[in-house]
Amino acid sequence: MSISIQFFASLREITGQSQTTLSYEPSMDVLIVWAKATNNMVMPDNTLCAINMEYVKTDAIVADNDEVAFFPPVTGG
């Protein structure tokens, strides 16, 4: 009964962690996951969120065993 959380690039540095886990609770959306995982840090503008490798908005509801990821705008290529 847990979800895993990943932080990448500048968000990894800002939050001081690359990954963590949270106990699963019903009805948590991505914004709540962020708040719980970062001790209520303000989410930077333009933060991108993914659940299980797919982009989602911050109001997407998280299921048990989901992998939630937070990262800044991408700069590949």
Partner: protein, 146 residues
């Protein structure tokens, strides 16, 4: 229509040749459009000694696989190919290769560009440049049109 991630330097022209020899039907495609993004030794007027390209491995592979599949169908390609570096990259090394093979040139050109634009907008990679003044994350508004 594969997407390959690699932390080693690669030669894009050798990769195209090898993929073409191994996977494309001789005499079937008439048009091959390719793009190579190469690391420059300067950016925003500053000398860059190298950069580190971080990514989200599982999501990157998933995203690029989906992109290839979708592009292949949308542009009715014979095939397409993406190769993307991660890790430490030095000036003059290729960062990304996109290739599209099709019967006619319009689809090949459009598809090759589509792969690059989508990848630039959505693939979870992040560049950190190392300059004389230290490290810096590259931002979209800085790299602009790169």
């Amino acid at each position: 229509m594969p997407a390959h991630l690699t932390n080693k330097a690669f030669n894009p022209w050798d990769e195209i040749q090898r993929y073409q020899d191994g996977h494309l039907q001789s005499g079937h495609y008439g048009a091959t459009a390719s793009f190579v993004g190469t690391m420059r030794d300067f950016n925003i007027n500053e000398s860059v000694s190298h950069m580190t390209l971080e990514h989200y491995p599982k999501m990157t592979q998933h995203y690029l696989d989906k992109l290839c599949l979708q592009c292949n169908q949308q542009y009715e390609l014979d095939d397409c190919l993406i190769i993307h570096r991660f890790g430490d990259i030095y000036p003059n090394e290729p960062i990304v290769l996109t290739v599209a093979w099709s019967a006619h040139r319009a689809q090949a050109f459009d598809a090759c560009r589509y792969l690059m634009e989508e990848l630039k907008s959505n693939a979870p990679f992040w560049k950190k440049e190392v300059t004389d003044k230290g490290e810096r994350w590259v931002h979209n508004d800085i790299i602009n049109n790169e």
